[in-house]
Symmetry: C2
Subunit: 498 residues, 2 copies
């Protein structure tokens, strides 16, 4: 391997293995029969070890070293080499054994979590969760950190993010958002009970498909399926899939998870196919990824013009259930700010308290102040503290999220970061796109999608998250845009005084 083309081939080969793993994972969570788990875990573990061998091959490191000094490369090429080298250097820290073991533990944890959740019995998950936590603690030592071991895990999903940063962000949440939520809850007489009637599975499904199409999601380059927990998964920009979950007794769950995952998948579909297999063919960070899903879910999908456009269709599908509900009532109900049990169903304000709880637990688990055994109790205490809510069962409590069973620690805070990026980006888009509300009102999302494509999607990893944010909005991530958005919108809905 000598030149940049050799690098391209090799980098694509590594990516092909990862994309293959993604297909196996997608299948595992959508269609795989239940006995398939054991050998699937082994197959994933084998592919992971193959990817690891490719990524850590000394010849690849030498090639990256050489190309790092090659001044004939253009800026994009230099950027690819820089990021690949950074990743290579980081990968060197892991042993093949660690990677293989991780893959097995995660498959087992996923299996156990599914059973535990179904049986509402945390004990089924305890052992494998402990193994995952131990693995992650080990990982913080492998990766190294300055202040808090959890920093090492945060950095995996949102480069350079630290406990210090996140603590500061949540200080903002606590000092500004929490009192605002409290103000709302004193004025909240919204009735959203109509969401909890019977809504036929297939009709819900079809409505979700319409929403995805309206957003500009390409079904020639993607598809939607059902899974226990909604997710998006991309095997290339030309095969970027979403999943959803349909509860026939809760209409809201499908609608906004559908828009949310659609937002993720639009990002993936917007990345340039010509950059497949290189850093420029990848999304920047989980925070930026989440900014795309949240922007669509909240700033578009929970806006008044959006429902002025789409409510008639929804009402025509469910005329009996929505007989007495007009568009404004629907809009208000879809923005009902209220403490609730399930993170993925939470409104966009209390949502960040759900994240806060997970963040505090993860920080405590990795820092050694919380034990896995105590998790259900700790979880329930924190839900009482921040959301003033009793958790009736572990299935609806500590077992509700898939993340830990996937081995993901350090992931949750990116949801909050992403939401705040979304507010800042949407604020900018509103300034640059002529009359964006009127376009949404007509169901025309094309200008918004073009803006997102041009500003964010096509660049892949050309810029760091912070640089991208500055480039687009002229300043670094700033909580004030989320707070401004929240105050304007909810003061109006709840008729709050300034």
């Amino acid at each position: 391997m000598k030149n940049y083309n050799d690098y391209l081939s090799y980098s694509k080969k590594i990516n092909d293995v990862y994309m293959s793993m993604s297909v196996l994972n997608w299948d595992m969570e959508t269609y795989m029969p239940k006995n398939g788990n054991k050998f699937r875990a082994q197959q994933l573990s084998t592919l992971a070890s193959i990817a690891y061998d490719l990524e850590t091959k000394p010849e690849y490191g030498i090639l990256l070293d050489n190309l790092s000094c090659d001044n004939s490369l253009n800026e994009d090429q230099k950027r690819n080499i820089f990021l690949s080298k950074k990743k290579f250097d980081k990968k060197q820290k892991y042993s093949a054994e660690f990677i293989k073991n991780q893959s097995i533990l995660i498959s087992n944890a996923f299996r156990d979590w599914r059973i535990a959740k179904e049986k509402n019995d945390f004990n089924y998950f305890k052992k494998s969760l402990q193994e995952i936590v131990d693995l992650r603690i080990k990982e913080t030592k492998i990766l190294g950190f300055n202040d808090h071991p959890y920093d090492a895990l945060l950095d995996k999903y949102e480069p350079n993010l630290t406990v210090k940063d996140v603590d500061l962000i949540f200080d903002d949440v606590k000092s500004k958002l929490v009192p605002f939520i409290s103000q709302i809850s004193q004025n909240n007489n919204i009735d959203d009970s109509f969401f909890y009637q019977f809504f036929d599975h297939e009709k819900q499904w079809n409505f979700g498909i319409e929403l995805l199409k309206q957003m500009g999601y390409s079904f020639d380059s993607g598809r939607q399926d059902i899974s226990a927990h909604p997710f998006s998964s991309s095997f290339s920009p030309q095969d970027a899939r979403v999943t959803t979950r349909i509860d026939e007794n809760n209409l809201s769950e499908m609608i906004w998870s559908c828009i949310h995952e659609g937002g993720h998948a639009l990002y993936e579909q917007g990345i340039l196919a010509e950059n497949y297999g290189t850093p420029l063919g990848n999304s920047i960070s989980l925070g930026i990824h989440e900014s795309q899903s949240r922007l669509w879910e909240n700033h578009v999908g929970r806006s008044l013009p959006y429902w002025k456009k789409n409510y008639d269709l929804l009402k025509s599908i469910f005329p009996d259930q929505l007989k007495h509900i007009d568009c404004h009532m629907f809009y208000s109900a879809s923005n009902n700010v209220k403490s609730s049990l399930i993170r993925t169903n939470a409104d966009e304000l209390t949502y960040h308290l759900h994240v806060l709880i997970r963040y505090e637990i993860e920080r405590g688990l990795i820092g050694g102040e919380i034990n896995v055994d105590d998790l259900p109790l700790k979880w329930n205490q924190l839900y009482k503290k921040y959301l003033d809510i009793e958790v009736p069962s572990d299935s609806q409590g500590v077992l509700q999220d898939i993340h830990w069973s996937h081995g993901s620690f350090g992931y949750f805070p990116t949801y909050t970061i992403g939401s705040f990026y979304a507010a800042q980006f949407y604020n900018q888009a509103s300034k640059e796109i002529l009359d964006i509300d009127a376009k949404i009102l007509k169901g025309d999302m094309s200008d918004l999608l073009i803006w997102l494509r041009e500003k964010i999607h096509v660049h892949g990893r050309r810029f760091d998250a912070k640089d991208l944010c500055k480039k687009i909005t002229g300043e670094e991530l700033n909580f004030k845009y989320f707070m401004k958005y929240a105050q304007e919108k909810y003061s109006n809905i709840y008729k709050l005084k300034d």
Copy 2:
């Protein structure tokens, strides 16, 4: 790598890569969106080259050489080493370039074939089919052969099978089966037109699921999906899947393809999980695989006791369509021997003339006597010659089968070999299982499945096909069992004189 355990780990690792490819292929033919093809082809090509690198690694060859001389191994272990070494030696003949190129050509051919079939235009497929044929001709030179280049391709699917053997078998078909078919067609006044009414997709689907369950197919270790061409695909004995195709204007298509693929999948589910990743964890040959599908499809699924059991259920699902049809009429219609266009819908007798046509074309393409350009014409001529039937369109003619687009040449003859094995095995099972018809009449297939498991499935590749046949039935493959079965069954249905 030093000992037998090292061999096991390595062999499993190779298998994991192949099973991963199978998942990607399964997805490609069931759920992948249409734009996904390009990068999927590349991903499969990468995995194929990784598998190739693993399979041809010199250290693996040395390990196999060493273990070949290790007398401390037990018989099963020796068998695994023998077969793995044989495969290794064969693989050495292929270059990495060949394997990679093959994977790309096949993906392209599959894409083109789908379009060609949809558009009823052979021209869309011509170029990529020519590339596949050229590749296979090149392969015959790589592999070597004694008499006919096509021998090298037959051997890939049915070890040691030659053009000479197949010519002999088809001589039998021509001299004994063809006059018998002719005798039937002179006495055929069966009306099977009721099959071609409207049968609701979902109701057909549900009936197919019931049949699979009755056979003993485990949905905990498998699943059924829809694809353009039905197939079975196994990722482990604990995840052995089937697909089916449902034509709402043709009930028969789904029923027997469902039983057929179920027969394949039962074989895969019956292989021992403990042998995963070794030759003993694999099926013997395509012929033996086909014997399992044909045994279920024809000897069970087209028998009178089977329909005495299942017809009431079918009639209850489609009461209007089957109002005037009784069980015997249904049984006769399901054994309507009649020239037809589509191989997969053919009755079990004329089926072998469909195979004969493909065999003659493949032998001619590989031998250089037939050109790809002439295929539609040649195809139509042979259908006129052997089946006395006009082919109205290429979609229903030369484009009907998926096989060539998958790069499979030498595959078709195994269908006929498999059917003849099935007849011989079922003849033996009928002697060894007490009152098998009475059991089928009760819907109890368990003794038959146990017999197949014990005699065939659990052994994996412990025996060669020929040895297995001798071990089970006391003699080599003999056409007379198929002929005897055909004569007894159809003389009865068509009231033929001896």
